[in-house]
Point group: C2
């Protein structure tokens, strides 16, 4: 396939900046202040996301019907905390104050969790699974747009996600016992995704440098249509996962 | 000092059983069903204690005034979770169902945490520090009475405690700013210790094999006076720590 087959993307693929950054290391890439600001935003957003996820998973562990279930959710929470540590340490390593880098994203994450407090164990499980999966998708999307050092960090954290798998069998088993549960959890999953998108859009609107980088744009502006496409890809993957779980999304 | 200087302890030091178990490994020591039951109880009690501590610290992290404080408490919580994992894995390794070993202790720990939910960040810090310190004291007391394999595990977990130190400077600083805070927190620390003792005594009364081992007793009964002495030593250490922290206990 040549580039003439998809003229609508031609201007993107022709742009030199987003492709070339992947070939650079942090020392080289961060000489561009716009790129540096975007990565600091990204690390700050991911770090606070992991810390907030830790807190909420640990709280949701209280809903667990058995000690083994509680331990499984606590394990996910602990994994999120270790992701937080890596991201925070990286911020410190590049000379940024981790707290300052995280603060712009506190309201969005806290808003998300406040709006999506699970009312029972199954809702907690679905939230853990959905959150873990969306995080993986997003990490994968963003890794390709990063310098080699930042990419290695993001991939290392990504490699350690996927603890949400245990949630799948529990939710399936519950739907087998009572199919009506599936309808309720499908609505719940839709609400989770809706709230996640709404908070993400708030961040995109506020943080120009980050948004520009996410869509592989150039330094002087970002393409809202490309942001939309990224959200669409993540939503689509979510929908497929929910269907596989027996939840019509 | 010869043993004649402390005749009140002569019968204890002369008892062959408690000393000799330390020279044995698990395979040899666990041939005694009473000893085996006691260690299973101990590992179950410690495991659930760590899991419960994880949950409460994670919840108390929500009270943190800054992101750095939140991260510090989350770090303690995560460390407790890893202690839980080691203890649970050890139970599985010796052929015990971890959940069944933990269940007898759920009510005592949950009761403790329910009675001692901190109402603010400083109370949470004091609780984290007190809990961490008492756990260290108890691990140290009990290690001497265990077979070599169990002792190594307990010492390894002990070696990784002490994350509570960060609480000390925060509490001191708060008392410096407003000395009345010290009075309030001293009452709080006393309540924590009182509740811990009350729940411990419940466990001691219920679990004969465990209590017998804790005081280095023989298989056919345990010496309530020795249990009392152990509690006294731990309480005394607590009182000294609170005084050092500027809290009259």
């Amino acid at each position: 396939m040549t580039s003439s087959d998809k003229p609508e993307n031609a201007s993107d693929t022709a742009a030199a900046e987003p492709t070339s950054v992947a070939a650079r290391d942090w020392a080289t890439a961060s000489a561009d202040p716009q790129y540096r600001a975007a990565v600091v935003d990204l690390l700050g957003a991911l770090a606070y996301g992991e810390l907030a996820a830790f807190e909420r998973l640990a709280e949701d562990a209280k809903l667990a019907p058995t000690l083994a279930d509680k331990a499984a959710l606590a394990k996910m929470a602990s994994a999120e905390f270790h992701h937080f540590e890596r991201l925070r340490d990286r911020l410190a390593e590049i000379g940024e104050e981790p707290t300052r880098a995280m603060e712009p994203f506190v309201a969005a994450y806290d808003g998300f969790h406040k709006q999506t407090a699970p009312s029972d164990w199954l809702e907690g499980l679905v939230k853990a699974y959905v959150g873990d999966s969306i995080a993986s998708d997003f990490y994968r999307e963003v890794a390709a747009r990063l310098d080699s050092d930042s990419r290695n960090l993001v991939l290392a954290v990504l490699d350690d996600t996927g603890h949400g798998g245990f949630a799948v069998e529990k939710v399936r088993a519950a739907i087998d016992v009572d199919p009506r549960v599936g309808g309720r959890l499908a609505l719940w999953a839709r609400r989770l995704m809706g709230e996640a998108l709404s908070q993400s859009q708030r961040v995109v609107a506020d943080r120009d440098a980050l948004s520009t980088m996410l869509v592989g744009g150039v330094a002087d502006g970002f393409d809202l249509a490309e942001v939309g496409k990224m959200f669409s890809r993540i939503t689509e993957a979510h929908t497929k996962r929910m269907a596989a779980l027996g939840l019509a999304a």
